[in-house]
């Protein structure tokens, strides 16, 4: 019993501390700075969808003792699975580069030294932690440090937003201007919240933590409360940007423009808290993305995999994350702008979502894997609706954003 309470507490802490990543910060800041509270409904919609999907990936692991990648390969065969696998690897490599870019920007804010110079040291630190650490130690450490991101929520209460307007943002609406940009940011928010690496990582983590059917309740609580509380942090970023940047006419085209969003609430410490939150959140997410990539690759090729084993015991798994980490870092070293990379990666994720989510849903309705624990109508309907919405919006909004300048 105590073990389960501990697992739930840790899971919720992980959800809050590990929820925010570079995509969530960038998209929420852009949304708040450009459209005030009008895009709050997208965060809420994305959060509901991610709660369902995370719960499903944990349930799949606990009931079938298969990770998501493992079950997909087995159920659909490698000839089919190679398509979502390659799509996931491309999106994850870009996402990993964006996360490393986020940590590098945080270090640039704190030291004044250009972000490109930090990419390789950050990649090395990340690699060293994975090489030397175990799954539990790294996951819990990054999540507990990640609680610092709650400063965005505290800042909102310090700055006293107009709560009625904030609440009105929970209902979908159209802006009077810049409609194409509005929908593009909406797509990027959905892509940032419903990141497929999260499901691969979560199901692999459940297997690493040896979950079985007894953990179904724990899984449900962690998915709902962890992701639910975590999305409050995203909302905090959006509301803080709406309160501080929008009235001054500052759009977030660069992380430097977002860096002052907490100074109204906390003065000098607001600047430090922003930089540290960005760094910690992105470092934690970089750890999850790189592990997720190594998990998927190892599970697809049938290699030995576990972050709890020594690198000698699962050499190919360790080599996989090593290659992915340094490939991601190189994109930042060559000078790709981390914010632009983040926003387009998130939009691209929304395009790729059906490739990953549709086979996932078919799997979640398969009696052979889930038995009596397979999906119900509500879970299927919510996920199909949000994924299709994100996909259609992405197909329409991305060309408009690019060609509309």
């Amino acid at each position: 019993m105590m073990k389960k309470i501990f697992a739930i507490t840790l899971g919720i802490v992980t959800g809050i501390g590990g929820f925010l990543d570079v995509g969530a910060i960038a998209t929420a800041a852009q949304a708040g700075a450009a459209f005030g509270y009008q895009l709050i409904w997208v965060i809420l919609l994305g959060t509901i969808c991610v709660i369902f999907l995370v719960e499903m990936s944990g349930r799949l692991a606990a009931v079938s003792q298969h990770t998501l990648a493992d079950a997909m390969r087995e159920r659909f065969g490698i000839n089919f699975y190679v398509v979502p696998f390659v799509a996931e690897l491309i999106v994850d490599t870009l996402a990993l580069a964006a996360e490393i870019g986020g940590v590098s920007i945080a270090l640039q804010l704190l030291t004044g030294i250009g972000f490109q110079w930090w990419a390789l040291p950050v990649a090395f630190a990340l690699w060293l932690m994975l090489w030397k650490g175990t799954f539990g130690i790294i996951e819990n450490a990054t999540s507990i440090f990640g609680l610092i991101t709650l400063c965005f929520v505290v800042a909102v209460f310090v700055m006293h937003p107009p709560w009625q307007e904030v609440a009105a943002g929970a209902l979908p609406g159209l802006p009077a201007r810049d409609k194409a940009h509005y929908w593009f940011i909406a797509v990027a928010i959905l892509g940032a919240l419903i990141s497929p690496y999260l499901f691969y990582f979560y199901s692999s983590g459940a297997i690493e933590d040896k979950w079985d059917k007894d953990y179904l309740g724990v899984n449900r609580v962690i998915a709902a409360l962890g992701m639910g509380f975590g999305s409050f942090v995203s909302l905090g970023v959006l509301i803080a940007a709406a309160l501080v940047l929008l009235p001054r006419g500052i759009q977030v085209d660069n992380y430097e423009q977002a860096a002052m969003m907490l100074t109204d609430a906390f003065g000098y410490w607001g600047f430090i808290l922003f930089a540290v939150s960005l760094g910690v959140a992105c470092f934690g997410a970089a750890f999850e993305v790189s592990l997720s990539q190594a998990y998927i690759t190892s599970q697809v090729f049938g290699w030995q995999w576990s972050e709890n084993e020594t690198p000698e015991a699962d050499a190919r798994f360790s080599i996989a994350y090593t290659i992915f980490i340094f490939s991601g870092a190189l994109l930042i070293v060559i000078g790709i702008d981390p914010l632009n990379l983040t926003i387009f990666t998130m939009a691209l994720t929304a395009v790729a979502l059906p490739l990953i989510a549709v086979p996932f849903l078919i799997l979640m309705n398969d009696e052979h894997y889930l038995g009596e624990h397979r999906n119900g109508f509500v879970g299927n309907a919510v996920v199909i609706f949000v994924i299709l919405l994100a996909f259609v919006l992405a197909i329409v909004a991305i060309p408009l954003e690019i060609f509309g300048g």
Binding site: Q108, L109, L110, T111, G112, R248, G249, I250, Q251, D253, N254, E256, Q257, A259, M260, T263, G267, Y268, G270, F271
Partner: protein, 111 residues
């Protein structure tokens, strides 16, 4: 012009935050440099837009040039730790920003 306005507001906020001691010198300097660079890119883009009448384009180029110069003065003030010089430059930046907004409004009315 939205980009110009956004970067000018960023420079203003960075300058004000530095005066209050809310941001480090390095951040304020880099932000002003990035703002200047973005303004330069915008001016280059504007130069190539044929739809804007030549006189309006020239006026926009002049105003952006003035903003860049003021941002450079702000950067120098921060480098030398001179808060009163920065305050003067900040006032100038605010006036230039208002002038730019007026020009954009009158150009919109003419069209």
């Amino acid at each position: 012009m939205k980009t110009v306005s956004s970067w000018t507001a960023t420079a203003q906020m960075a300058g004000e935050a530095w005066t209050k001691g809310f941001v480090p010198d390095a951040y304020a300097r880099r932000t002003l440099e990035t703002a200047r660079e973005n303004l330069r890119e915008t001016a280059e883009t504007l130069e190539q837009v044929k739809q804007i009448p030549a006189n309006q384009n020239l006026q926009a180029q002049t105003e952006i040039g003035n903003l860049r110069q003021t941002m450079n003065q702000m950067r120098a003030a921060i480098e030398s730790g001179n808060k009163s010089a920065l305050a003067q430059s900040l006032n100038q930046l605010i006036m230039q920003k208002q002038a730019l907004e007026m020009s954009v409004k009158s150009a919109d009315t003419e069209q």
